[in-house]
Symmetry: C2
Subunit: 385 residues, 2 copies
Amino acid sequence: MTSADLRTRNQVRLLRAVHDAAAPFTRAEAARLLGIGRNTAAALVGELEAARLLHEVPAEAGGRGRPTTLLVPHPQGPLAFAVDFREDTWTLASVELGGRITELEGGEHDRTPRAFADIRAAVARHESDRLAVLGFATSGPIRDGHRLHISHLGWDEVDLGALVGDDWPVTVIDNDARLAGLAEARRGALRGKGTAMHFHIDFDIGGTLLLGGDAQRGAHNVAGEFGHMPLTGSPLECMCGVRGCWSLDVGANALVRRFGTRPGYGEGRGLAREVLRRAEDGDAEATEAVDANAAALGRGLGALANALDPEAISLSGLGVDLIRLRREVIEAHCAEGLMAFRRDEPPQILAGTVGAAGPLTGAAEIAWDAILDPDRVRERLQPKR
Amino acid sequence: MTSADLRTRNQVRLLRAVHDAAAPFTRAEAARLLGIGRNTAAALVGELEAARLLHEVPAEAGGRGRPTTLLVPHPQGPLAFAVDFREDTWTLASVELGGRITELEGGEHDRTPRAFADIRAAVARHESDRLAVLGFATSGPIRDGHRLHISHLGWDEVDLGALVGDDWPVTVIDNDARLAGLAEARRGALRGKGTAMHFHIDFDIGGTLLLGGDAQRGAHNVAGEFGHMPLTGSPLECMCGVRGCWSLDVGANALVRRFGTRPGYGEGRGLAREVLRRAEDGDAEATEAVDANAAALGRGLGALANALDPEAISLSGLGVDLIRLRREVIEAHCAEGLMAFRRDEPPQILAGTVGAAGPLTGAAEIAWDAILDPDRVRERLQPKR
DNA sequence: CGGTTTTTGTTCTCGATGTGAACATAACAG
DNA sequence: CTGTTATGTTCACATCGAGAACAAAAACCG
């Protein structure tokens, strides 16, 4: 830690404050926020402006006092690109400091690794020297950051190094469920929660433990497979190779199973939505299926809350519908799974507010985390030395 | 972040390095370790010596070069006291920088909150101006840091503020299972593991998730009740108010249940050891009980590994015996609970090396964490300003 | 409309911090 | 005894943030 580190550190703190803020703030507010003098703030901002990391625009006068400037992203500043790579489609977006997202392009793909080449081409179409880091969201666990498994695409241990070639911009990659959770923690329902959890419910349940706004990644980067714990006593065998997984009782597969549909991907998702609709219309069997789903969900959440003590739990995917339709069922079974002494302060169960943009938003966040890394910021501030 | 913060920060880094090191190191090594110049190191150490936080002793020459000094705890430096408060006994120890433990006193207690007064008296008998922070390990969850539940002592929501009075030294408190895990992470089997878990197996299973050498505490400080997740499909009702808890199949209660002993505390623990002994001697029914215990343990560990992806898992209490007697059973059932793609790199399952000293050692660690807090260190370095 | 108040920007001095280079010191090796 | 090696020590230096004093620009008030 040298004096130069000190300066960089304060500049990163300032940039992070701008990035994380819900709304732009002024230079004077920044000084108060960081606990530094107005003179120091002026120096920091000045250097950041010169490095095209921050821009000052006149703030509309808001009371007495000399007018000040608003700190906004620099119009020529670095950009993060974010990719949401889904089952059969992808989306590319550009994200500026502060998190504003501009969708650039989207497409379908043929479920083969060739898709990565298409995406690279799309990135190239929009690339400029402003592009700093590319954040990539994909489904499936990514072991050690490069060994990708996407079971429903039949990708088993695909090497990301081969897909993301040396000609790519600096790329950071993580799985969609974890990134959706990160998005909620940074810009959604879990904002400000010190300990929280997020679950994305689709065919499967993936999620993440969020600590202080950061996602827990595990020793091999494959933490978060909460759906593959035997929390509801299912006797069935799961596609993952284990018996009794929670996901067998919660999510699309469980919703459609009693209607004779084979577990899997594709039409199953549409049918699951259909079951939800029918339950909403009062259909008895659908209602029963949804109730069972909600109950199993709640039971599992209670168990996890015992172990990890989150302040709040947010849900995305089908979880949003389950909360809307059956909040009481979820909460009742959650309480039943909670140790008695905890029942007076159960975890809040929240619908995610970032919604379908979760993976994309999360990918942007990890890309910006890389851009705002102290070493990279310093490099940008002192290009030569 | 001011210049003064920078100095404090480097001094704390140095003190932490000394505290965490397995063996004392020299001032020159410290400079290399922290990446600072020898002159800076001399200045830092000089001030820390003046503040009685560090002491320099001549190092025996180890080759060429001008002789240097070893950085050791100051003989008049601050001490942490650590208390391990158990079911019916307590231990008080003194711990110096670096973690060397000196047992001071121990006693029995009558299972009423009066024990806290006895402990306070013992602390007073050994108190000096060197005592900086008292670390306290107790069983049971401590909600929000002050609402204590120890079910087997019949303590329900006892207010720690009333037990730990204003006349106590600065006191930090946490539960024994979490502190045992912290001890393993800092000075035991989990040293150097970025993501790890620890479980203490007694009547119950308590544990903690350890991230970067720190224990995850949860939103209300009651994280770690992994034993109260339904991981093994037990149909029984647990004392905690939930059905199917993992602890019902693992630990002392499960070991003795089939032998007609009521679940609970006291003689049950002795009987559990007896069952282990008989299993070791080849008794069929005892063997069956121990096998079932080990299997349930492994099954749960596999499930938790799916969710949290630890590099290693350490066990204390009965877990040590189960590893010694039935490692294969544990590992086989763990693998069965692991998602297929994980089975080629399962978490290491380790016997804790800190042993019965876990809670005491962990209590010392949180006490030293408090002593090495930057604010406190700065206070000690600049007593007046 | 002009003076006052309030808030922020700007400038300058100052103490503190770590760096780097040069030199001094104390052991060991031959 | 002399050279080598590793470490301690000293000093000039650049950088950083703090703090105070002052300037500037708006709103408020009578």
